[in-house]
């Protein structure tokens, strides 16, 4: 028997293994400039029970691909213009909406990035779950309810019965994403599309949700298409990977091969840009004088209620935090959402009323009058997370960059413009683009504009509050590089606030780990990442997905880790963390 004769048999034997087969998929958007390709000639197969990751940066077409499979493209502006999506003997690309509706949610289900907005705020969790079940199966109310409770139990939500009657705003982000997963898997679909399912979650919650997805897949045999930008998540979850860029497939291989032997230049560049823990260059200790010093800083917000509007509870946002930031140093604050790291940034620029003492360049912030506070602000500048929101869309970037100079009355119009041009060049933008508007720049370029604006007053300290979190990894790597270069040039100090442990490991000199408004561990980068002492620090570091499929992690405890509330009635204090020096300035917290 020849090889040619044997081929068809193998082909026929493997064919039923495919649950979904995409061939030559093209998606176009109708814009004012004509048709714009979003996805071009994309082909892939999804096998039973496997996890296929579609990885890529923003604009790669990965989310559009998932919406095309679901038939959820924003028609008629965006449409499938070619190719087929074969599923169960049908071509989804050619199906009418009513026909697709019987498949959607029943045989192909989807979970989305934003658990905070993906559930209807005015309907109970129970209603939203049961309606999904009853949309596809002829079961009564009580039977649907029973199955909904089972589904909630399967995603390991505590007190599933009580959750049924709760509204989404009563649940945390992680719990909401569990509800979304319960909703998607209640009908045991053959395919689950997970579009950035953990991107909006804190890293420890991400860990739990990824573990949950993996366990459920093992139990139910669901095939998963995982859409993600995070190569760490890819390495941990996927069997195979498709790397996409600008609507086209760049490379496809098994996860092991992609990480071990990336073929395409783009894949290699993408993997090189991924921040990894333990790769930060060793930096000499910074021993200069401090530019900012916080001593026992407390920020509390009162919640009022009752007839006379008395204080019923206090939000203990920041509790007894002390640290200093030295000239030319990068001090990182890490912690999960709500831990108080951004509140500290606000307090530093005088935007949050605080107790305790904050000194900027040796001068206390408290008790300053308005002109003195304004002068003080010259020394501290901020760069925020979302550059588009931080730049006035109707102002030219040249004017945006020179605005701090105008506010503080420094120089005349000509010198201000010259300064803008100079700063544009310093952050790697073309000076010819001074008269353009923010929307004419890409996300990374906009963040460079924000950095240029922060530099205009030559501050002692720049507070970077999640400044690189919204950027694609390749852009992120270049912006981090820029921040380092500017620090060397201007010897400016950074307060780098981030939830991303790998980025922090790469850029910081010293790190403070925050939990529930208090610092639980503080030390040099090497001390925190090389010798983490506090259990919370360890949990944070362990939770970070590692972009290396060969590295098998120890299974973490599967218990849900809801953070306790920072709300306390007046007069009640949260338990105070006492920091002890365990040698060489490495401070570790213990509860008093």
């Amino acid at each position: 028997m020849t090889l040619a004769e044997a081929m068809p048999t193998t082909g026929a034997a493997t064919a039923p293994d495919f649950v979904l087969r995409v061939e030559g998929l093209c998606v176009f958007a109708r814009t004012e400039q004509g048709l714009k390709p979003l996805v071009q000639d994309l082909s892939f197969d999804l096998r039973k029970g496997e996890t296929l990751a579609i990885a890529g940066e923003s604009g790669s077409g990965k989310s559009i691909t998932s919406l095309a499979i679901m038939g959820l493209l924003p028609q008629p502006a965006v449409r499938v213009t070619g190719g087929s999506i074969r599923f169960g003997g049908q071509d989804l690309a050619g199906l009418s909406d009513p026909a697709l509706r019987t498949i959607r949610g029943d045989r192909i289900a989807m979970i989305f990035q934003e658990p905070m907005t993906s559930l209807n705020p005015v309907m109970t969790v129970g209603t939203q779950l049961t309606e999904a079940i009853r949309a596809h199966e002829p079961v009564g109310r009580s039977e649907a309810r029973k199955r909904a409770v089972e589904a909630l139990r399967a995603v390991r939500l505590s007190e599933p019965e009580r959750r049924m009657g709760q509204y989404p705003h009563e649940l945390s982000g992680g719990m909401r994403q569990r509800v979304m997963i319960a909703m998607a898997l209640a009908l045991r679909p053959e395919v689950l599309i997970a579009d950035e399912p953990t991107t909006a979650l804190d890293v420890t919650v991400q860990r739990e949700v990824l573990d949950l997805l993996r366990d459920l897949q093992r139990d139910l045999g669901t095939a998963i298409i995982l859409i993600t930008h995070d190569m760490g998540v890819v390495a941990e979850m996927a069997d195979r990977v498709i790397v996409m860029r600008q609507g086209r497939q760049v490379e496809t291989a098994t996860t092991l091969d992609i990480f071990a032997r990336p073929q395409a230049d783009y894949t290699q560049a993408l993997l090189a840009a991924v921040p990894r823990m333990g790769q930060g260059a060793e930096r000499p200790p910074v021993t200069t004088e401090p530019v900012a010093r916080l001593t026992d800083v407390v920020v509390r917000y009162p919640l009022r209620g009752g007839l006379l509007g008395g204080i019923t509870q206090n939000v203990h946002a920041v509790e007894h935090v002390s640290f200093d930031i030295r000239k030319g140093e990068t001090f990182a604050l890490v912690g999960e959402s709500g831990c108080g790291k951004s509140t500290i940034a606000k307090a530093l620029v005088g935007l949050a009323p605080h107790q305790g003492r904050i000194e900027i360049a040796g001068q206390a912030l408290q008790g300053l009058d308005a002109p003195a506070l304004k002068a003080m602000r010259r020394k501290v500048q901020m760069v925020f997370q979302d550059p588009m929101a931080a730049l006035n869309p109707r102002t030219k970037v040249g004017d945006l960059i020179s605005e701090p100079l105008v506010i503080h009355g420094i120089g005349d119009a000509a010198s201000q413009r010259a300064k803008s041009a100079d700063l544009m060049a310093r952050v790697g933008l073309e000076t010819a683009h001074l008269d353009r508007y923010p929307h004419e720049f890409s996300g990374g370029q906009r963040q460079r504009i924000c950095i240029a604006r922060a530099l205009a007053l030559q501050p002692d300290l720049i507070i970077a509050d999640e400044s690189v979190s919204a950027l694609d990894v390749s852009v992120q790597a270049r912006v981090l590089e820029l921040l380092r270069a500017l620090q060397a040039e201007f010897s400016v100090a950074y307060l780098f606030i981030s939830h991303d442990m790998a980025v922090v490991d790469n850029i910081s000199d010293r790190v403070g780990v925050m939990y529930l408004g208090q610092i639980v561990e503080l030390g040099t980068r090497a001390q925190i990442f090389g010798n983490p002492q506090h259990p919370y620090t360890r949990r944070l570091i362990n939770a970070v997905p590692i972009p290396d499929p060969l590295q098998k992690r120890a299974t973490t405890s599967r218990a849900s880790s809801e953070v306790p509330s920072p709300l306390h009635p007046p007069g009640r204090q949260p338990e105070r963390v006492i920091l002890r020096d365990i040698g060489a300035g490495h401070l570790v917290g213990t509860v008093s």
């Binding site: 679901m70 959820l72 909406d97 509706r101 019987t102 498949i103 959607r104 949610g105 029943d106 289900a109 989807m110 989305f112 934003e114 907005t117 993906s118 559930l119 209807n120 705020p121 005015v122 309907m123 309606e131 999904a132 949309a135 596809h136 509204y167 705003h169 979304m180 909703m183 009022r304 209620g305 009752g306 007839l307």
Partner: protein, 306 residues
């Protein structure tokens, strides 16, 4: 909740106090003299002064206001200068008609406005949407008397489907209620449309579609309750606008409500009636807003009253 209600009621009382003061002051400085209206043209100066003294209108402003307020707190709104009847009695006899008209008008307004808004949002950018939005613009800008006369002419005079004016049966209610409804529907349809368009773009609508729900369920069960919230707040505010419109419409259709009462009183500078009608209207507006605020948390559980 109880604390919230109590605080809102105290606020409402303060608002009514402010309204009473401003209205009383405006009527005081008005060049028109109520005593002249009562006494008639041929009255002697002596008669005029007698009446003035009798009514206490010769006293300083602050004394007059204090007297009025003192009586008002005891539930006495005074007597009409011309009809010699208790103002409270007059308003009591007229109020049911106005409330009936208001209910009918708000019903028409909502049915017309919300339907137009939802349909326009679902067919956004299509010819149907544009037609509806032009229509809503016309209704928003059309003067009340033009619309009322037009409807009166077509449906009462030409077709004879409804009575020309008056009060008593359901048929009497239709034309004035529809007139007010059409005039108000433009605002509601525009607001509903933009609110609905926003909601239809929301992530949870995408989730609902991903679940495989029918279009009808997505629109009615998922989108509508979210989209209607700003509209509910508007109903509360709208009662104020409505009180202004009712004066014209009640006059055109001969509807015996407080709008007509106010219109007559203004012509004759019958201060107690003007004060009474103003306070009742202000009370209705305050109450409407309070009700709108109380209904909102029933629809959106995230809204907490405090």
């Amino acid at each position: 909740m109880a604390a919230y209600l109590l605080r809102r009621l105290i606020q409402s009382a303060l608002i009514l106090l402010g309204v009473s003061f401003i209205t009383f002051f405006l009527l005081y400085v008005l060049p028109a003299d109520p005593v002249r209206q009562i006494a008639g043209r041929s009255a002697t100066a002596e008669t005029v002064e007698n009446i003035r003294e009798q009514l206490g209108l010769d006293k300083p402003f602050i004394v007059q206001y204090a007297r009025y307020l003192g009586a008002l707190v005891q539930g006495d709104m005074g007597r009409s200068y011309l009809q010699k009847t208790e103002v409270a009695e007059l308003i009591q006899s007229r109020l049911p008609a106005t409330l009936l008209l208001m209910a009918g008008a708000i019903f028409c307004e909502l049915v017309l406005g919300l339907t137009m808004g939802i349909v326009a949002a679902l067919w956004r950018g299509k010819a149907l949407d544009q037609t509806l939005m032009v229509t809503s613009f016309v209704t928003v800008s059309a003067p009340q008397f033009v619309v009322s006369l037009l409807l009166l002419y077509i449906f009462a005079v030409k077709l004879g489907w409804f009575p020309i004016g008056g009060y008593g049966t359901f048929a009497h209610l239709v034309l004035p209620a529809v007139t007010l409804g059409i005039l108000g529907s433009g605002w509601y349809s525009r607001m509903m449309r933009s609110s609905m368009v926003d909601v239809l773009r929301a992530d949870y609508i995408r989730t609902a579609r991903a679940k495989g729900l029918t279009r009808a369920r997505i629109v009615l069960r998922h989108a509508l309750p979210n989209a209607i919230l700003p509209v509910i707040a508007m109903i509360g505010i709208d009662i104020g606008v409505f009180m202004g419109g009712i004066v014209v419409v009640e006059s055109v259709f001969g509807w015996p409500g407080i709008g007509q009462l106010a219109w007559q009183a203004i012509q004759r500078v019958d201060i107690p009636i003007i004060m009474g009608v103003t306070l009742v209207s202000a009370f209705a507006i305050v109450l409407g807003n309070l009700l709108a605020d109380l209904v909102a948390p029933l629809i959106d559980p995230r809204i907490r009253l405090r």
